[in-house]
Amino acid sequence: MEAFAHIWEPVRLTLELAAITTLALIVVATPLAWWLARSHARWKEIVATIVSLPMVLPPTVLGFYLLIALGPDGPGGAVASLWGARTLAFTFWGLVIGSIIASMPFVVQPIRNAFAAVGDRPLEVAATLRASPARAFWTVALPLASPGLLTGAVLGFAHTVGEFGVVLMIGGNIPGRTKVMSTAIYDYVETTQWREANILALGMVVFAFAVILSMITIEKRFARARA
């Protein structure tokens, strides 16, 4: 029973981190994806490239810069000083920030594609029916792009759960605070606790399987519904 509690703590922490990160990502990535899909600004692809960087950078590079940014001398430290702390590194909220940045491209891309697929016509129709741009966004663009939002959310959640390198760099693997499933498995292996490592690893395989299967199903269902 004690072993179970031992394993449960990183699981709970992982789910919490992924849930908060996903929520924050939907809020941040949706307007960003809308802008990337609709704007005619030439420099928008520069922004798109920056957002996509975490996809190709080694997590250690991302983690290194995040460590500096979240640390006592970076903006993270300045924010932390508001409540008397020295740094955001090695804290849960530091992990949230790191995860948001690391998972951003996986959320922005499908939402951007979904907005692009909606096209101009439905928005023009909405405008000719007196809908302000804001109302057209909420009542037409967003519902029509909802499969993309769902895909983005699932991918963002899954990627946050699976992130290892960045978490290790900026989280420090502190039990109860920053020790999530992926880093916990690493610990268990280091300390030859094979049974625990096995349970977590198998859990992640099942989780990944469920995520991918559900995404395929979602996509199929929407494709049929919108045909």
Binding site: E124, T128, R226
Partner: protein, 372 residues
């Protein structure tokens, strides 16, 4: 004050296409924007709607400036218009009912009384059985009817229609056209209607704006432009004039209507109608023959006195003549297309009095409803 007027002038370039089009039309009835594909009709309509912004443009509807050269530009959602696109473009995530209600003023907007009621539109367009369905399960014609209803229920002061029938097959066109006619006759809503199909113009339009290569060739009442030999309409092989006839009598025994037009009367086979009602009469130039004297007994029921007011050769062997009805030649105008041989043998010329002969069956139903 330019009340009851549509004034639109737009100049500019879109890629390689250059537009320099302007027209003024009364803001009542149906104004057809007519011309070949690619002549800029849709561009003009999009400019009127504010979906496209030409830097150099004026758009004034019933005295309200929607766009002006001083930088005035009302965004689309603030213009009281309805727009029917070529494809119905219904919102796939909403039911037919919610599509219809999307642009309807919300109750809280209060004061502005609805001029076009939901029940009336649903009835007019026969969409009642479709209300709870999804647009996905509708036929092309049903979708377009819903799209028209949706535009109407936004309580527009001007309805813009961009070839609403062109994406439909013949049978479906025939299904929708009567709705458009009823719409024109029942709602006092000005319509700007784009088409490249002359049959649609003849059935629906009151005014016409002729466009070609980004320019306006002419604008005015339909019959005036149809009978102007300097314009391509009159010179076309299927040239015709559309006259507004008032029902004078109905002959139930033979199923014929007598219709009065300025300067004359036509008899045509037609369904019964009440005295005083208006009916459109399409007289095709090829169906009109000319005579110098009243012929003897003949099967031709329509023999109308008039005068040749203009004539223009078509190629080397045919003549297009414009005939003004009435003894003094002051009535409605007809077109007659005849061989140069007949023209010369009869000694016809401008100013000569003639009898125009039209077989009644040539005026019967058929033309304009796309059935060949």
């Amino acid at each position: 004050m330019m009340a009851e007027t549509i004034r639109a002038e737009f100049r500019g370039r879109i890629g390689k296409f250059s537009l320099d089009a302007g027209f003024t039309a009364p803001s009542k009835g149906v104004t057809a924007l007519f011309g070949p594909s690619g002549c800029g009709k849709t561009t003009v309509l999009r400019c009127i709607a504010g979906l496209l912004r030409m830097g150099d443009g004026v758009c004034e509807i019933d005295g309200e400036l929607w766009q002006d050269r001083d930088g005035t530009f009302l965004p689309t959602h603030k213009r009281p218009l309805g727009y029917v696109f070529q494809e119905a473009s219904l919102f796939p995530h909403l039911s037919v009912r919610r599509n219809l209600m999307f642009g309807a003023p919300r109750r809280s907007d209060g004061a502005s009384r609805e001029r076009i009621a939901f029940d009336e539109v649903v009835d007019l367009l026969r969409v009642t059985p479709l209300l709870e369905r999804s647009p996905r399960n509708l036929s092309g014609g049903e979708r377009q009817r819903v799209a028209i209803g949706r535009a109407l229920l936004s309580q527009p002061k001007l309805l813009l229609m961009d070839e609403p029938l062109s994406a439909l097959d013949r049978a479906t066109k025939n299904e929708i056209l009567p709705f458009l006619e009823r719409l024109r006759d029942r709602l006092s809503l000005p319509v700007v209607y784009i088409t490249h199909d002359i049959a649609e113009v003849e059935r629906l339009a009151d005014q016409i704006v002729l466009m070609e290569k980004g320019h306006v060739l002419a604008a005015g009442p339909l019959a005036d432009l149809q009978s102007d030999p300097s314009l391509p309409l009159a010179m076309a092989r299927d040239a015709a004039v559309t006259l507004d006839g008032v029902v004078e009598a109905h002959d139930a025994r033979y199923g014929l209507l007598t219709l009065r037009v300025p300067g004359g009367r036509f008899v045509a086979p037609a369904p019964p109608a009440l005295v005083g009602e208006h009916r459109r009469i399409h007289v095709v130039a090829r169906d009109v023959s000319l005579a110098r004297e009243t012929p003897g007994p003949s099967s031709i029921l329509n023999i109308l006195p008039g005068r040749v007011v203009a004539a223009k050769p078509v190629e080397s062997n045919e003549i297009l003549a414009v005939i003004a009805l009435g003894a003094g030649g002051s009535g409605a105008r007809l077109l007659s297309r005849l061989t140069r041989k007949s023209w010369e043998q009869l000694g016809l010329a401008e100013g000569v009095n003639v009898y125009s002969q039209v077989k009644a069956v040539a005026l019967g139903p058929g033309r304009g409803d796309f059935s060949e």
